[in-house]
């Protein structure tokens, strides 16, 4: 697809549609073995069964890194980050290219579109990385919408005959624009636990203080509360500065989640990639949404007759259900950077 920085070209992203274990091994096996011959490191991120099948297909010839999908596919930006760190870490150990076969964990139906976004975004976020990945799709078990979407998010297809370009591939912006915003959360039909209307930046301090109190009273774990307060602050700042006041904040809590709507009276934006990729350094505009996507599980925005509505949803389980904030620094040490990419939207 694109030749990126880091020597030996950049990201090659394939979809593999299979309907039997033989079909999976028949296509992924040669892919992995060709990688071994080239000195690439094999990485497997499939179900236990498929990880075992593919490991066997390598006939014990090499070191294989095996990961659990559940440990990778938590939030979209975190999954991207984990793959970036994986490749950088292997580079530091002298690996020139990583060859990965994985199965995206699409989760429950409300998350399907979000992981389709992931599949689209990696084409940009991983472009400069020396990584060849194969996303394996079981056509017997996966729902049709997911299979259809997969045909638009992979520039290449892999079969037992090898890799070929995928005519169904669409640019990530096109894919994201075609996906609908999240529907209202059922909690929105109930009275909110917290409500505040902001008219100016000076109101942000009060918002943070009162929201902190409300979430603490609701028994939300401290780390989740801290994350939601920062996220709400940044979205409200966007609404006040780039949108139009008043900015209406409504927050609900339930046993398993915190849900917010933040509505401003402006026309919003249609930058569907906004916040999924880090803004170019040095720090410029657009970083607030990036920070927010790193703090809560789901951010979705839409235009309504009430204004521009941003919905934030995050798990609020007590006892460790909350996704740990990832470390901000990967002690790279080397000069090689992930590279920048320009994703321009019209």
């Amino acid at each position: 697809m694109t030749a990126g920085a880091g020597g030996g070209g950049g990201y090659l992203h394939h979809a593999l549609f299979y309907d039997s274990p033989q079909a999976l091994v028949g296509a992924a096996g040669p892919f992995l073995r060709a990688g071994l011959a080239a000195g690439d490191l094999p990485v497997l991120v499939c179900s236990d069964r498929n990880n075992a099948l593919l490991t066997a297909a390598l006939r014990g010839e090499a070191e294989v890194v095996v990961l659990e999908p559940a440990s990778i596919y938590t939030r979209v930006v975190d999954a991207v980050d984990r793959y970036q760190r994986l490749v950088r870490a292997q580079r530091r150990r002298g690996t020139h290219r990583v060859r990965l076969v994985g199965e995206v964990d699409f989760g429950p139906p409300p998350m399907w579109d979000e992981w389709t976004r992931f599949e689209a975004i990696v084409n940009l976020a991983l472009a400069p990385y020396p990584l060849s990945s194969v996303c394996a799709y079981d056509t017997r078990t996966l729902p049709t919408p997911i299979l259809k979407a997969a045909r638009t998010t992979h520039p290449n297809l892999l079969t037992s005959a090898g890799a070929e370009p995928n005519p169904g591939y669409r640019h990530p912006v096109t894919v994201l624009r075609a996906l609908p915003p999240d529907p209202p959360d059922p909690l929105e039909a109930t009275p909110p636990r917290f409500a505040d209307d902001l008219t100016a930046p000076a109101d942000l301090t009060r918002l943070r203080r009162k929201l902190r109190t409300a979430l603490t009273t609701a028994g939300v774990p401290t780390s989740v509360m801290d994350d939601v307060v920062v996220a709400a602050h940044e979205i409200c700042t966007n609404g006040l500065i780039h949108g139009r006041p008043p900015v209406l904040v409504r927050v609900w809590t339930s046993a398993d989640r915190v849900h917010c709507t933040i509505t401003d009276q402006g026309t919003g934006h249609n930058q569907s990639l906004a916040g999924y990729l880090p803004p170019p350094t040095p720090v410029r505009t657009g970083a607030g949404l990036w920070v927010t996507r790193n703090l809560v599980d789901r951010v979705s925005s839409t235009h309504t007759t009430d204004g521009f509505v941003v919905r934030l949803t995050t798990q609020a389980l007590n006892g460790g259900g909350h996704i740990q904030r990832r470390p901000p620094h990967d002690s790279d040490g080397e000069g090689w950077s992930p590279g920048t990419w320009e994703a321009r939207e019209g």
């Binding site: 930046p201 301090t205 943070r208 880090p278 720090v283 970083a287 901000p328």
Partner: protein, 300 residues
């Protein structure tokens, strides 16, 4: 009553006054911002102004200092004496004993300059004196240039003699270049509603919360500190951040933008001891990885 020589001896061991005012030991952040030294108070409202002014007065009276207050006689303001009394400060006794004095503007800003005002207070035997006025009131009797000269002189007094001053500026009118000029004459410390900035030997100590609403104040104090570092030949500026409870993306941007030229000369900006979430946000937006920026001693 102590004589003047005695006062000086006492003052040299007096850690709370201007000599020790808000200056951290090298490498150690002050635990709380102090009310000593030459301070700029940015107030958002009359209520905010009075609350913090009362703390400043109480601190001075508790320390046995003489407190001088410029009476602007603004009919829109309630009596300062009534307010302080309402805060439990016995201004009646303080006034009777000469510890608290309301001065008309012409006496607070005599034509010979404020040194004589300070001299008189110290001659009365007080170990230290503190003065406060609203800028808006001062500008009814002084030109802006004359007021700037007074501020510069006050900064000298606070550095060299047992003097503190709280200069009250209205937030809504102190923006842009006016803010920059005001901050430049108060290198020791700025007290905004939600955060404080205090000078340290190697840079600044920040306490409180900084977001899009007050990031311009952060930019002003940081800009002034960087300019001072440049002109005194220092290669590094240290920002002590352990006292920051909140720092948003806009504030990170203010730090990055304000320090860009300084860092482009090869000099360094040290971000010292930020709490975990602050450090995390700074990392996520690329501030800690920016050229010339170093994160030192992370989370508690």
């Amino acid at each position: 009553m102590r004589d003047r020589a005695g006062c000086r001896l006492l003052v040299s061991g007096y850690g709370r006054g201007a000599y020790g005012a808000a200056v951290a030991d090298a490498g150690r952040a002050v635990d709380r911002p102090s009310w000593d030294g030459h301070l700029l108070l940015l107030h958002q409202s009359e209520g905010d102004r009075l609350v913090r002014l009362a703390e400043w007065v109480r601190h001075g009276l508790d320390g046995g200092e003489k407190v001088l207050y410029a009476d602007g006689q603004d009919p829109a303001h309630s009596s300062i004496l009534d307010y302080l009394r309402g805060q439990g400060i016995d201004v009646g006794a303080a006034t009777a004993e000469g510890r608290f004095e309301l001065l008309p503007l012409t006496a607070f800003y005599p034509s010979q300059g404020q040194d004589v005002v300070v001299d008189r207070a110290l001659d009365e035997g007080f170990p230290a004196v503190r003065l406060s006025a609203e800028v808006a009131a001062a500008l009814t009797v002084l030109t802006p240039q004359a007021y700037r000269d007074i501020e510069q002189n006050m900064d000298r007094l606070c550095r060299t003699r047992p003097v503190s001053a709280l200069c009250q500026y209205g937030r809504s009118t102190t923006v842009g270049p006016v803010l920059g000029a005001a901050v430049a004459t108060h290198p020791r410390g700025v007290r905004e509603l939600m955060f404080d900035s205090t000078a340290s030997p190697a840079g600044l100590v920040l306490h409180g919360e900084i977001d899009v609403d007050n990031a311009d104040v952060l930019a002003a104090v940081l800009g002034a500190a960087l300019a001072a570092a440049l002109s005194s030949g220092r290669d590094e500026l240290r920002l002590d951040l352990a006292g920051l409870g909140f720092l948003d993306v806009a504030a990170c941007r203010a730090i990055a933008d304000t320090s860009r030229v300084f860092r482009a000369t090869g000099r360094r900006l040290l971000l010292v001891g930020p709490p975990p979430l602050v450090a995390w946000v700074m990392g996520l937006v690329g501030l800690t990885d920016a050229p010339g920026v170093a994160l030192v001693g992370s989370a508690r």
